[in-house]
Amino acid sequence: MLQQKIKIKNRIKGETSKAFNLSALFIFIFLFSFNLIHADPPFAQPQNLLGGYEIKIPPFDTFKQNEDLNLNFHLFNLSNGVPIDNSSTDCFIHLYQSNGIQELEIEVPHESFNTINNEWEILILGDNFSGIGNYAYIVQCNSSSLGGFESISFSITPSGNSGTANIVFFIAVIVLLFGLNLFGINEKNVYMTMLSGMSLIFLGIYMINNGIIIFRDSLTNYIAYITIAWGFISSIGAILEES
């Protein structure tokens, strides 16, 4: 009788455990299926239905501060993919700052000498990118019967670089140089302290020139000055202490 009771108890335990496992599996699949589910937008894009122009722009998203930007793009007929030149079509570019102020509005010329590449190209001077941050531009092209537009956002950074990889690399360099310097001071290794100190001087100048990844303002300049001073003081201090 007792054995039978134990068997029943074990069976109930096993079934409960199975039910728990199944529930956990169901929840797990349910949660992760959120990423896999993708609904189509409720409305199809009108340009796909009506035809028009398709504008293809090289997908660069970060540019260097104060550097001229050579913007180029290709224009195609959306319905048959035929490249479009300037015989019947005009293209304009509108450049905006992050606060919505329009910085530039200009017609984009078509490269008439280069019929193979069929390129629309314009040089935007670096003066238009003096501020760091987000910008956007709209390219619009239209003929008497067809048209199209493309809007692109991009970032202006002091170095022209952005992204996690750059940030990690820069932080690693800073930590390495300061670490070597402090290690040299702690271990009373004069030459390691001097070499790392001189490297810190260079790092400081680099930070003044290129900022810290995507930032360059009075704060980054201040940090750069501190870095230069620290490099100089540790170098001189190490040799004075040694001799």
Binding site: I208, L240, S243
Partner: protein, 72 residues
Amino acid sequence: MLGNIIGGFIVILVGVTLAPTVANEVAGAQLNTNITGASSTILGLTTLFYNLSIASTAIGIAAQGLRNSGLM
């Protein structure tokens, strides 16, 4: 003593090799529109600070040599 001379020589060699790069970077930084006036002047002295660091290595080695030989 020999270790110090070799170490100092390496520091001087690396420092002198990189000195033109530092000078170029400083010149580039001075062209930066954000830095003007006294800040720009002090920034221009960075090349001097860098070269002083290199020079102090040589001076340090010489002073240490003189001290070891009893002349100082």
